[in-house]
Amino acid sequence: MRKRIYGIETEYGLLVNDNDFPYGPVEIADRIKDHVFSKGLGVLDLHYRAKHEPPGNGGFLANGGRLYIDMGHLEYASPECCNLVDLITFDRAGDQLVQDAVEELGWADQVSIIKNNVDLETNATFGCHENYLVGRSFPFDERENLKILSAFLVTRQIYCGAGRIGACNPHPFRDWDGVSMEIHEEEPVDFQISQRADHIPNEFYRWVQYNRAIVNTRDEPLSDPTKYRRIHLLVGDSNMSEFATAMKMGTTTLMLDLLEQGFAKREWILAESVGTMRSISRDPEFKWEITMRDGNRSTALELQWEILECAKAHLGGSRHETDWILENWESVLTDIPKGPEALLGRVDWASKYWMLSEFKKEENLDWHDPWLKSQDLEYHNLNRQTGLYWGLEETGDAFRKTTDAAIEHSKTTPPRGTRADGRGALIKALMGTHAGYLIDWIGFRLSKNEEPFLMLDPFISYKSEIHDYLRSMDLLPQPETPSPLPEKK
C-alpha cells in the first residue's frame, strides 16, 4: 500500500488531587465530555452504539475524531490521518481539548488528566491503541508473518516505551495455547521501560481487555472489508514525546510495508515473545538480551538495527516521510547506547528515567518512595504548568514535530486526505440543525432519509458528496442564484 492511514485511540487516566472534591473520577470524566460537546465542538450520539454506550455517552467531533467514555475512562480517538505530522497534531489536539475543558471548568488545581497506561498502586491498566490501514491482501493470516511482527513490537519498546517504576505480575485468565505462564512472582523491579509489558499475556489474540495480545487479531476494518484491513494494536504505551509517537507509528508502518512486500525475514522471529517483552522491559542493565527461534542470541537493539537496515535497503527513497522515519530510526538506535540523557525529549522512558534519577539523587529517595511514584505519574500530566514532560519543552529538550498553532487549529478542523474531512463537514453542518442522525466511522444516516450514506473508502473525503446530500435534505442553505444585473437605462 503506497499510502497509509493512521489513527490513535487514547484512554486517559484521571487524578483527583483534592480529597474534598464533590465528584469522583467517573463523574468528572462525564462532565468533561459533556463540557466539550456543550461548547459546540461536536455532536453527541443520539443512539445506542453498544450495551455500555448509551446515547450521550460520546460523540463525533468537528475535527473528525471522537470523544467518549469507555469503561469509565475518558477516551479520544483521533480522526483518520494520512501522514505522521497530521497524526501527531491530531493526537495532541485531543489532549488539548480535554485539558482545555478541565481548565474551563475551573478544575485545573483539583483535577489532572494523566496520559499514561497504568495505576502504579492498583496496577489497573488502560490503553493506547494504534490503527494502521492495510490492503485486504496483507498477509495477516500467515502465522509466520504475525511472529515477525510480534518480534518487531517486542523490541521496539526500547525507543517507544513510556517507562514506569515497579512491576505488576498479573495472572493470565486462561491457560491454553499461546498464553505465557512464565511469570515469576515478587520479582523486584525498580524501573522498567514499558508501561504495558506486564499486562500482555498473549502473543496473538482478538480481545482487547484482560487477555491482551502483542498482536491483536481482531478483524474489524471499519471500511470496505473487500479492500481493506485495519491492524489494531494495543501493545504500545501512550507517549508524551512527539518524537516517540512518530517513531512508534512510523517504524511500525515500515514494518508493515516490509511484511506486505515480502522483505521481512523469518530469522527475526523470537524463540518466545511474551516473556521476552517482559524481560526486555525489566532489564536493569538495559542490555535487552533476546533468544531467536533458531537458538542464536542477540539483543533488542541489534534486532532493531537489522530491521532498520532491511527497511533502508527496500523502502529508502520511496517517500519523503519514509526517509524521515528511516533517518530518525537510525538516530535513536545510534543514541540509545549513549544512555538516557542522550535521549531526552525523544524517548519517554529515558526522559523519565533521567529525571527520576536526578530527583532521586537530589532528595536521597528510594525507587519505591511514594514521592518518586508521584513524579512518575506527573510526567504524564497534560497540565503544561505542572506536568513534568512540559518541563522538557520549556528547557528546549523536547523534540517537536508539530506546532502549537497547528494543534489549536486541529481542535476544530479535520485533516485533509481522508474521509475525516467529510465527517468534519457533516458534524459542523449538524451542529446548526435539529435533524436526527446516526453517525459511525463508516458512514451516517439522517432522520430525514432511510438510506445510509456510506463512507467505505477512508482515502476519499466524500466532502462534496456530503455537501450535496445535506443540501438535498435542506440541511444546508441553498446556493444563492445571482440576481440579474439591472438593465442599463
Partner: protein, 58 residues
C-alpha cells in the same frame, strides 16, 4: 540501576574546586535546565500516586 557498560554512560566531568575563590569558576557541568526541572519536580504532591484510583480499561 547503574549503567555498567561504559558506552552507555554520558560523559560528565567533575568541576574543579576553586581553591582561591578567585579567577574563573569551574564549568557548570549539570545539564542546562536541570535545576528548573528539579524545581518543577519538588512541587509535586508526594502522595498523589496514592490518590490515583483507576479502573482497568482496554
Amino acid at each position: 540501576m547503574d549503567m555498567n557498560d561504559p558506552l552507555r554512560r554520558e560523559e560528565k566531568k567533575e568541576s574543579a574546586p576553586d581553591r582561591h575563590d578567585s579567577g574563573p569558576k569551574g564549568p557548570d557541568v549539570s545539564r542546562p535546565g536541570r535545576d528548573n526541572l528539579l524545581k518543577r519536580m519538588k512541587k509535586v504532591d508526594p502522595k498523589q500516586s496514592e490518590k490515583y484510583k483507576q479502573r482497568t480499561g482496554q
